[in-house]
């Protein structure tokens, strides 16, 4: 009895001491502010901005090295990928990137970075160790979204004007197939088992679910928010939970995140966030989802269990990318 009481008291104290009740750990979120040329660092325990770091011009896509010791930053207007050392928070080197890098994806080998060069219609592959460009693959016009399959076999790039997904074989660095999707594809995301690829179409207002084996669309998901005009529903960012339950889609100027049930492909709910939401990242072992709201200049925090927006945190001007480190 005493022991049970002690356990209850300890858990009560933990609940009081940990302000949000989520798993502890010094998790930090890094947000790229496109118009401020900075990164905002958010402490995910207090939800405060604890640091603002100057980086290259127009930072957009950001991602961590697999050991989380380095952060790669697409400095679009500096035409380079900057490498930031997380321990010192200093930019320690630049990687060659081709023109106007916007989004990139790190191959599971942790070495090859696949970069979409928006202005020059190519995908550049850079070796992060030797800091050399090892391949450039011609793709459609205005390449933007990019993802590498979990088995490392495929790099898939979206081209905004050609309206296609381009399938690049990573062993030969050649384009082997294209899949036509809705207008202005912006982002692609593989499921954890690598069997399904999700692609958002910004102007088309849809998300296409593609079977990776056949590279053919298997489902097109539409969105409808009461009181929001259809034209404002512009899907961009996609995040898939590792338990296979939800897909989250950022709907741009509709200011909502769609929550999709991945077993039925039906939209379960829409969550109100800040203005023009584009990209997202999971935090706290997928208990939280962070969204970057460009126009309102803030980051909204979603509790995934409750499907509830719990906080919006002011960051710099036009937040774009988000990456989360867990210490």
């Amino acid at each position: 009895m005493k022991r049970r009481l002690l356990i209850s008291l300890t858990s009560l104290c933990m609940t009081i001491l940990l302000p949000h009740g989520y798993a502890s750990g010094a998790d930090l979120a890094y947000i790229s502010n496109e118009k401020d040329n900075t990164l905002s660092v958010i402490d995910l325990n207090s939800f405060d901005v604890v640091n603002t770091i100057s980086v290259g011009l127009r930072p957009r896509g950001i991602t961590f090295s697999h050991d989380q010791k380095q952060l790669y930053i697409c400095a679009s207007d500096s035409d380079s990928i900057q490498v930031m050392d997380i321990a010192s928070l200093q930019v320690i080197s630049d990687l060659p990137s081709g023109e106007d890098p916007e989004q990139f994806a790190l191959h599971p080998n942790g070495q090859h970075l696949y970069i979409a060069n928006e202005d020059s219609a190519v995908v550049t592959v850079v070796d992060t160790q030797s800091r050399e460009v090892i391949a450039q693959v011609d793709v459609g016009i205005e390449p933007e979204g990019i993802a590498v399959s979990p088995d490392g076999k495929w790099a898939v790039n979206t081209s905004e004007t050609t309206n296609m997904l381009h399938w690049i074989d990573t062993s030969t660095f050649t384009l082997v197939d294209n899949t036509l999707v809705g207008q202005r594809p912006r982002h692609v995301e593989f499921s954890d088992d690598g069997k399904i690829l999700w692609a958002s179409s910004e102007i088309g207002g849809t998300v296409t679910v593609v079977d990776v084996a056949s590279r053919k669309p298997m489902k097109i998901i539409d969105f409808k928010i009461p009181g929001v005009h259809r034209d404002r529903i512009q899907p961009v960012g996609i995040k898939l939970t590792k338990d296979g339950r939800y897909a989250f889609v950022a709907l741009g100027p509709a200011n909502h995140i769609a929550v999709i049930d991945r077993t039925t492909y039906e939209v379960e709910s829409y969550l109100l966030v800040g203005r023009r939401v584009w990209h997202m990242a999971f935090a706290k072992d997928q208990q939280l989802l962070l969204t970057t709201n460009g126009v309102s200049g803030d980051v909204s925090v979603i509790d995934i269990e409750d499907l509830e927006v719990i906080k919006s945190i002011k960051v710099g001007r036009y937040p774009w990318g988000v990456a989360v480190s867990q210490k």
């Binding site: 800040g274 909204s300 906080k311």
Partner: protein, 265 residues
């Protein structure tokens, strides 16, 4: 006089108020339907009109439905207070007030009993409404439901005192329509119940100052913060001081020797 006499007196007034509330089914229904109409119809139409800004106590972006709920709690309390004061005028016309006032208990005590009874009746309506509001995705934290109790009670006391004061000034039931036109509606519309004050300021600076000076605004803000388990000290003090002043004035007003009504005659 013994303590039990005071308790008996309070019980009598409270039971009468509750009985009246329960027996008047249409009043019970109206007290829920009115705010629900605002929530379902009005708020749906104005969904996009609120604009984008995060204001305390909210931590993130909210829909208009979420914003309007504390204001609708305010209107439930406001209407209830006015109904309660209307019943005072009715009691006076029907003669049952004489029975109450001939009690040996001090008049001020009886009036405070009446105020408290009215305020407690409002709590039932407010909780009924807040539970229904959950169906419309207005889900404040659970602690909020606890904190909203004292906040609503204080707001209800302030508005009840206003109603009591008005009832002492109105001699006939027919004059009560004027109260609705000149007190209830301006008080409701010129407050933060329907729109945040910053939005009012964008439209008209003068209206903003009137809204900011309206004690109903502060009662609503006190309820709004409490519903999100936060405390708004400014709203608390303004509501408390206004409640005390109005109660004092109402007690004086009901004193046949010094009453405001007496002086008018």
């Amino acid at each position: 006089m013994r303590m039990s006499a005071y308790i008996n007196g309070f019980r009598g007034v409270l039971l009468r108020e509750l009985l009246r509330f329960i027996h008047q089914r249409s009043r019970l229904l109206a007290s829920l339907v009115r705010p629900l109409l605002w929530l379902v119809v009005f708020a749906a139409g104005f969904r996009a009109a609120l604009g984008i800004a995060i204001i305390p106590p909210y931590e993130t972006y909210i829909t208009y439905e979420v914003y309007i709920v504390p204001g609708l709690v305010g209107i439930i309390v406001l209407f209830n207070a006015m109904q309660s004061s209307l019943s005072m005028v009715y009691d006076r016309e029907m003669g049952s007030m004489r029975v109450l006032l001939t009690s040996p208990l001090p008049r001020a005590y009886l009036l405070i009993c009446k105020l408290l009874s009215g305020a407690l009746t409002s709590l039932f309506q407010v909780f009924g409404f807040l539970l229904i509001a959950r169906l419309f995705n207005v889900n404040p934290p659970l602690f909020g439901y606890l904190w909203v109790l004292p906040a609503t009670l204080l707001g209800a006391l302030m508005l009840g005192a206003l109603g009591l004061l008005l009832s002492s000034l109105i001699r006939q039931l027919e004059n009560f329509a004027g109260v609705m036109n000149f007190v209830v509606f301006p008080m409701f519309f010129l407050s933060s119940a329907l729109y945040p004050l910053w939005k009012m300021r964008e439209a008209n600076e003068l209206i903003y100052y009137i809204c900011a000076a309206n004690p109903f605004t502060h009662a609503v803000e006190l309820i709004r913060f409490a519903l999100y388990a936060q405390f708004n000290a400014q709203a608390f003090w303004i509501t408390t001081i206004t409640a005390l002043i109005l109660t004092g004035t109402a007690i004086i007003s009901y004193d046949p020797g010094r009453g405001l009504l007496q002086r008018k005659r």
